[in-house]
């Protein structure tokens, strides 16, 4: 399958820079998926979960609080204010990652429905890890 470069930049540096097969981004108008060769576009993102499918079929989830996505045919760059990956190899690490994520989401999402929908997604991402 075709792959493309995917980068997540925060004010404190890069938190993700790798090849991806597909990504799902939380756009303002709803979620959208991007595959290699996607038409160029620039759009705003809102608080939510970014799912990145890598070459080896593994999926990584990263929670963001706000963002701008710049999609071009062979590269996707998203600029975010804050981001927290949901990853870890044991329960302790996962718990810690989840705590960071909750903090990030509670800071930004102003409506409780937004928090709820994001929380649900976080939940399923965590399930995948365990």
């Amino acid at each position: 399958m075709d792959k493309f470069k995917f980068e997540i930049l925060t004010p404190n540096g890069e938190i993700f820079n790798d090849e991806a097969v597909s990504v799902v981004l939380p756009g303002k108008e709803g979620e959208f998926g991007v595959l290699a060769g996607h038409a160029s576009l620039t759009t705003l993102l809102e608080a939510g979960v970014v799912d990145v499918e890598k070459e080896d079929k593994s999926v990584e989830s990263i929670v963001i609080d706000w963002g701008v996505a710049q999609v071009s045919e062979d590269k996707v760059v998203i600029l975010v204010e804050g981001a927290a990956p949901i990853r870890g190899t044991n329960e302790d690490e996962i718990a810690k990652a989840l705590e960071n994520v909750r903090k990030l989401i509670n800071d930004v999402a102003d409506s409780s429905t937004a928090i709820a929908s994001v929380s649900a997604k976080i939940e399923s991402a965590t399930q995948r890890l365990i």
Binding site: N12, S40, L44
Partner: protein, 296 residues
């Protein structure tokens, strides 16, 4: 020939100064490393952010997307009131670091004065504030201790006033003047025009082929607004980070030069001291010999 005691005292005082400057240099080197790291990490984000904004601005200019007449992107002819934000250090002893920024601000002030444009000066950093106070230049507001410890929240609060006034049409432009970090030994002065977003440099032909802009039509205005706000906030914050890194590199250099100068001075004083001592010995010897001679 100076008194031996005097020279000794001078040597001691100069070498004490040398110790101080060397310590200050070491402190600055350590702080620089941290500040540089932070600036480096943020630079990528700042560049991308500017690129995104430039692209949007360019597209608005070229295609007038949905008849957008967003104030952020409009070039304003004959501005009446502009904001100048300057960033200097809170502390001195860093060579020409602060004075360069002050000079740039003065130049800008003069230019606007000639055009009969009113300027609101907003200061960050004690040294610049002191200078303009002393010269009785009026400032809208001033903030200290922000330039030595950049803080996103405080910087957002500070620049928000300008953004709000720009939106209301109270001011027609916003400039940020600061001395930025280039490498260990050079600083680079930046005079950035943050508002209105510069669309001049953008080539229309290029964008049409490159990409499209997807923004929900209903609240275009609002969304672009929020994006531009983030852009300005981040630019302000990045100016602060860059300025701290530059401050430490400037101080490190100034202190290095001072240490070397002190070393040189001690060396010269030592030569002088030895000469004086030799002269004293010679005089004493002559006295003894002539005493012996006269007794014969």
């Amino acid at each position: 020939m100076a008194n031996l005691k005097d020279i000794q005292r001078q040597i001691k005082s100069v070498s004490n100064t040398q110790k101080t400057t060397r310590a200050m240099k070491l402190v600055s080197t350590a702080k620089l490393r941290r500040a540089e790291e932070l600036a480096k990490r943020s630079r990528l984000y700042a560049q991308k952010m500017n690129q995104v904004i430039a692209e949007i601005a360019g597209r608005i200019k070229c295609s007038k997307v949905g008849g957008l007449d967003n104030r952020y992107f409009q070039k304003i002819e004959n501005p009446k009131m502009v904001d100048i934000v300057f960033v200097t250090a809170d502390k001195g002893l860093c060579g020409g670091f602060n004075i360069q920024t002050i000079k740039a601000v003065n130049k800008l002030l003069k230019e606007y004065k000639e055009k009969n444009v009113k300027v609101r000066l907003r200061g960050i950093g004690k040294k610049g504030i002191e200078f303009f106070h002393y010269n009785e230049v009026e400032m809208l507001d001033t903030v200290v201790s922000l330039s030595s410890k950049p803080d996103k929240e405080r910087s957002d609060d500070f620049v928000m006033t300008s953004i709000a006034d720009y939106k209301d049409g109270k001011i027609d432009a916003l400039h940020i003047v600061y001395n930025g970090y280039k490498n260990m030994i050079t600083q680079e002065l930046h005079v950035n025009t943050i508002l209105p977003v510069d669309t001049e440099a953008f080539d229309c032909d290029k964008i049409r082929s490159s990409s499209m802009l997807e923004i929900e039509a209903e609240d275009e205005e609002k969304m672009l607004g929020s994006l531009v706000e983030k852009y300005i906030n981040y630019n302000m914050y990045y100016s602060l980070i860059d300025s701290v890194a530059a401050e430490h590199s400037a101080r490190m250099q100034a202190m290095d030069t001072a240490t070397n100068n002190a070393k040189e001075m001690v060396k010269n004083l030592n030569v002088e001291f030895n000469k004086a001592r030799q002269a004293a010995i010679t005089t004493e010897l002559i006295e003894i010999i002539s005493g012996v001679e006269s007794m014969k």
